[in-house]
């Protein structure tokens, strides 16, 4: 099956902890992304990774960092979570260069207590 796979589906943690979310795509796509969807369903791009080039949205706090071992994997680490990090994190991938009809994973819902 070819798709974008995210783990875990849900994660509950406390303020100050470190969390890590995994994303793998089996589509052979060249570009991967992380999006954040807040409680009002607003979607915002966080990172884009293409051909070992990482592009960071300047509004993303430094406690967030993407990690990639190859073009099929793009994980997301949050060093010390804050309450405002509670959201759904969506991973996506697209063929070729940026944003051509990205395919999304099912998302990871993070709750920070």
């Amino acid at each position: 099956e070819t798709a974008v796979f995210q783990t875990p589906n849900y994660h509950v943690t406390q303020v100050g902890n470190e969390v890590s979310f995994n994303c793998k795509q089996t589509l052979g796509h060249d570009t991967m992304y992380w999006y954040k969807q807040d409680s009002k369903k607003l979607l915002k791009i966080m990172f884009s990774y293409n051909n070992k080039q990482l592009i960071v949205n300047e509004t993303v706090p430094r406690r967030f960092s993407p990690q990639s071992s190859d073009k099929a994997h793009l994980n997301l680490r949050i060093k010390s979570v804050e309450p405002e990090d509670s959201a759904v994190y969506l991973c996506a991938s697209s063929p070729g260069t940026y944003n051509q009809a990205p395919l999304f994973g099912e998302g990871t819902r993070l709750s920070v207590l």
Partner: protein, 110 residues
């Protein structure tokens, strides 16, 4: 203000009826995409558009870059069309950033 403004924010439709969703852009979008997020949270790409129109089954979308808007028409609405529809535009030509609208929550009733 909003760079990608969607309307309406919510909509209820009777099964079998037609409707149109709209996005207005205050940026010079070169491409537009429409997505459907189902109640489980999965986000599915419906259309990827350069200026012009595309049709897929009961869905039809148009993008007018000169007038800075895009529409999504739903014909003969079905229960499974329920969900949140998002439009997204590239921030500038060849940009890595997609800017999403705030969504239209569609409920199709039997």
């Amino acid at each position: 203000g909003d760079k990608v403004k969607q309307s309406p924010s919510a909509l209820s439709l009777q099964e079998g009826t037609n409707s149109a969703l709209r996005c207005n852009f205050s940026i010079a979008a070169t491409t537009v995409q429409w997505f459907l997020q189902n109640p489980r949270g999965s986000l599915m790409n419906l259309f990827y558009l350069v200026p012009g129109t595309k049709e897929n089954g009961r869905l039809k979308s148009a993008f007018d870059s000169k007038e800075s808007y895009s529409t999504l028409h739903i014909r003969d609405a079905q229960l499974e069309d329920s969900g949140t529809y998002f439009c997204a535009a590239d921030a500038s030509s060849g940009s890595w950033q997609l800017i999403f609208g705030s969504g239209t929550q569609l409920t199709v009733m039997p």
